[in-house]
Structures are given as C-alpha cells and as structure tokens.
C-alpha cells in the first residue's frame, strides 16, 4: 500500500511526477521468486520478460529482484532456460 499522504488534492489531481513508485505492488505477492545466483548464466531473459521491470542489470549481469514491486507472477521462472528461478 502506498504511503499515506497528508492532503489529497481535489479531483484526484497529482502534482508530483513519478509518484507511482510509492505504490509498492510487492504486497500483492503470494509466492516469491528464489533466484540461484551461482548457477545463473546471465542470459537476461527474465529481465526482458518481467512485467514490473523489477530486475535491474549492472555490467551485463542481473541483480536481485526488487521485492518492493515483484507481484510474484512467475514469468521469470517460466522463461528461465536453465530453470534456476523457483517460485516458493
């Protein structure tokens, strides 16, 4: 759930750009992707397919899933060619 703001503007007007970041969709998750970092071949398939864009990349290597926004859809686990992302 998003952080409660003190004063709502009338008519649901939003005057701060990028505030959808405050809406942490990670609370929707019922199952969690467990990624085996050691076995990963960094093909970046999961990065391409993640609908929430919550897997970041640095120097051609994927980083941990940002669980603040991961809804637990399991797409990363499905597309992983060597099946090292398990949904638990």
């Amino acid at each position: 759930m998003a952080k409660k703001i003190k004063q709502n503007l009338i008519g649901g007007i939003i005057n701060r750009p990028g505030c959808s970041k405050e809406y942490k969709t990670g609370t929707w998750r019922t199952i969690c992707p467990i990624w085996d970092e050691e076995k990963c071949i960094h093909c970046l398939q999961c990065v391409q397919f993640c609908p929430e864009n919550c897997i970041s990349v640095k120097n051609g290597k994927r980083k941990k899933t940002n669980l603040n926004y991961c809804k637990g859809c399991g797409i990363c686990s499905q597309v992983c060619p060597i099946k090292i992302i398990k949904m638990k």
Binding site: G11, G12, I13
Partner: protein, 381 residues
C-alpha cells in the same frame, strides 16, 4: 432615457443564454446541435463570426465528444462551455460524472426536453432529472431574465466551489419565446466575474500535474468525500454570491422564490416556466379571497431541505407539480418535498406537462380548490 448600466433587449430564452455566454467569453466552446438547444449555439456562432468573442470553437461529432472536449479545455486552464438538451444530455452522462469528479467549474445551459421513447421534442424535465445525482449543481430558471442572470451567477459559484453547474430553461416555452431581458453592461459583468485563475491546469508547465489518474481504495472515498463537502458548501456560497449579484440585478437570488406564500393556507410547489402560470392563477384567486401561494425551487441541487421546511411549515396542504416522472419511485420534486416537510402537512403529487403538454390556469385553480376544501387526502406512503 438611456441607462449605461443595462440595456433592454428583446430576446428568446436561448438568445438570453447566448448573451450570457458572450459576456463570459469562454476560451473554448464546443458545438453540437440538438432541438431545442440549437438557437443558443446558433446565436453564439454569430457572435464568433462578428468577432465579438475570442472563443475557440470546436465542432464535434456528438454530445459525448462535446462534453469531453469541454472537460479537456477546462482542465487546460480556461473557461469552457457547451449547451445541450434531452438525448444530448443523456449521451453526455458518462462525462458529466467525470467533469464533477475532476472538480472542473463548467457551466452548461440545458434546455429541458423530454427523453425518448416515444420520440418527442417538447419540454419536460426528465433529461436534467436523470442526471440530478451526478455532482452537478442544478439551477432552474422560470423566464428569460432568470436564464441570463442564473448563468452569470452560476459561473461565479462554480469557480469558487469548483463544481460544474447546469442552468435549466424550459424547451420552447422559455427557449423560443420572446421577452424583454435586461442585459447588464459587459464591464459590470466582467467586473463581477473577474478573471479565471485555476489553482492547477494542464498547460501550466511550471507546475505539471496529471489528472484522471487511477485512484485506489483508500483515496477514492477521501476524494469523493471532498466532493460531498464541496456540495455542502454550495448553499452558503450561492446565497453569498447571490447577494453580491443582487446589487447589480436588483433582484433576489435565493434557493427558491416565495410568491404570496407567507400568509397562504395552501400552496403549490413547481419549477421553471409553469411557476408563471401558477402566479397568474394566484393573482386571480387572491382577488376572490382565497389564501393560496407558490413556492418555486430554483436551486434543485443541492436541495435546500431545511429552508423549504421553514417556508412550508405553516401550510395545511401542499401540492407538488412535477414535470417528470421517476419510474418506480416518487416523482423527483415530490420526493424531495416529502423529505423536507413535517408529517402534519398533507403533501400530494401531480405529474403534468410530460412531452410538452400544456397546463392551464383552470387546472391549477382546480388543484388549489381541492386543497382548500380538504379534498386532498393522500398522505405520504
């Protein structure tokens, strides 16, 4: 003798609405014709052709688009107006809720015409009654002068409260009939209205905003509650601005008009042009010694329950004349009056004038006489 403050012009109700729009000089006006509203935009387009107004005109392909264009224009930070009737208002329904939800102070003249089916182009109030709960302030006008003044008053109320307003007039009966209308000088009206300075607008690039975003559960009710609170403030603001406007118009601008009501025994409650017929009947009956009166609600949304209770509390019987039905429920005005008055007043309901059917003085006199001899027994059920 010429008076600099006002000119008397011979105008139809529709032209009076167009005159008010000319003095407001909105930034954007969208046009879509529908009988009997068409003379408003017809007259307004003449003003545009003569260069009397600076409005950007958008000719749209339906009323749904007409209202959508106005919502976009008003959100961009200018005054925006359109006018409609009947089926057009029905087609706007979806966007009416959006306009009030986004708190855009749009003022729209509505020329009342019945809704299909059966197809009919004449006056009744079923179109505006159909959208009475959509968060629009609703003001009903009896004659051409009221049409003109109510639109100007509505503009100021709308902008201070940030809610949209519909200003109603009766189709053909008001919109196409000619009367003398006092048109106040442009300078006086522009001083009264002032400049429109919205707190937020889409074209204000220094303070960017987004509107119409998805609002999830915890916020939705809070934002709706703000709308309810705004609606509750309308009555006070309406009276306050009405007093200010009275200095210009020399007429009262209140929630309702009382005609011979204070010493009356029985009264009729009805809105818009029929009030004129009732007043004429009252004048005749008063001469014969019958104590009869009229209450004509002007502000229908928000409805002034307490004030109407006070105005009607001394009466024996009240008859509510509705020019629309609410199928499966009490007629709209009757329902509101029932909710206002005490249990010891007999309140009864008549539906009249659907599809433009005429009502005559003799019929109104009959209703008054029935009330006076106590022949109206129907109580609330």
């Amino acid at each position: 003798m010429a008076n600099e403050n006002f000119k008397k012009k011979i105008l139809t109700g529709a032209y009076a609405a167009a005159e008010a729009m000319r003095q407001i000089n909105p930034g954007v006006v969208s046009f879509y014709p529908i009988t009997p509203q068409t003379p408003i935009i017809e007259k307004y387009s003449q003003f545009v052709a003569k260069g009397l107004v600076d409005s950007e005109i958008i000719e749209v392909e339906s009323e749904h688009s007409a209202m959508s264009a106005i919502v976009g224009a008003q959100a961009s930070g200018v005054r925006a107006m359109t006018a409609t009737s009947s089926q057009g208002l029905a087609l706007m329904w979806e966007i009416l809720g959006i306009a009030s939800g986004l708190r855009l102070p749009i003022v729209m003249p509505v020329v009342n015409r019945t809704l299909s089916s059966p197809l009919n182009i004449h006056c009744d109030h079923s179109d505006s009654m159909g959208c009475r709960d959509l968060g629009w302030i609703q003001i009903f006008s009896e004659n051409n002068q009221e049409v003109y003044e109510n639109i100007l008053l509505a503009m100021k109320v709308a902008e201070q409260i940030k809610l949209p307003v519909m200003v109603m007039q009766d189709g053909f009966i008001t919109s196409h009939c000619v009367e003398i209308v006092k048109i106040f000088s442009d300078k006086i009206i522009q001083n009264f209205l002032g400049e429109y300075n919205p707190a937020y607008s889409l074209l204000d690039t220094k303070n960017p905003i987004s509107i119409g975003s998805l609002i999830s559960q915890p916020y939705y009710s809070e934002i709706k509650f703000q709308q309810i609170q705004a609606m509750n403030q309308v009555k006070k603001k309406y009276l306050q601005i009405g007093k200010e406007f009275s200095k210009i118009t020399k007429r009262k601008h209140e929630y309702f008009e009382k005609y011979q009501l204070d010493d009356a025994e029985v009264a009729i409650v009805c809105m818009s042009s029929t009030a004129g017929t009732v007043k004429a009947t009252i004048n005749k009956m008063r001469k014969k010694g019958f104590k009869v009166g009229l209450l004509k609600p002007i502000l229908f949304r928000p409805f002034p329950y307490q004030e109407i209770l006070q105005a009607l509390s001394h009466l024996k019987a009240v008859t509510v004349l509705d020019r629309s039905t609410s199928l499966g429920a009490h007629p709209p005005l009757f329902g509101e009056i029932l909710n206002s008055v005490n249990h010891d007043i007999l309140v009864t309901s008549y539906i009249f004038g659907l599809g433009g059917e005429d009502i005559f003085e003799s019929e109104i006199e009959e209703i008054f006489k029935k009330m006076l001899v106590g022949k109206i027994y129907k109580k609330r059920n």
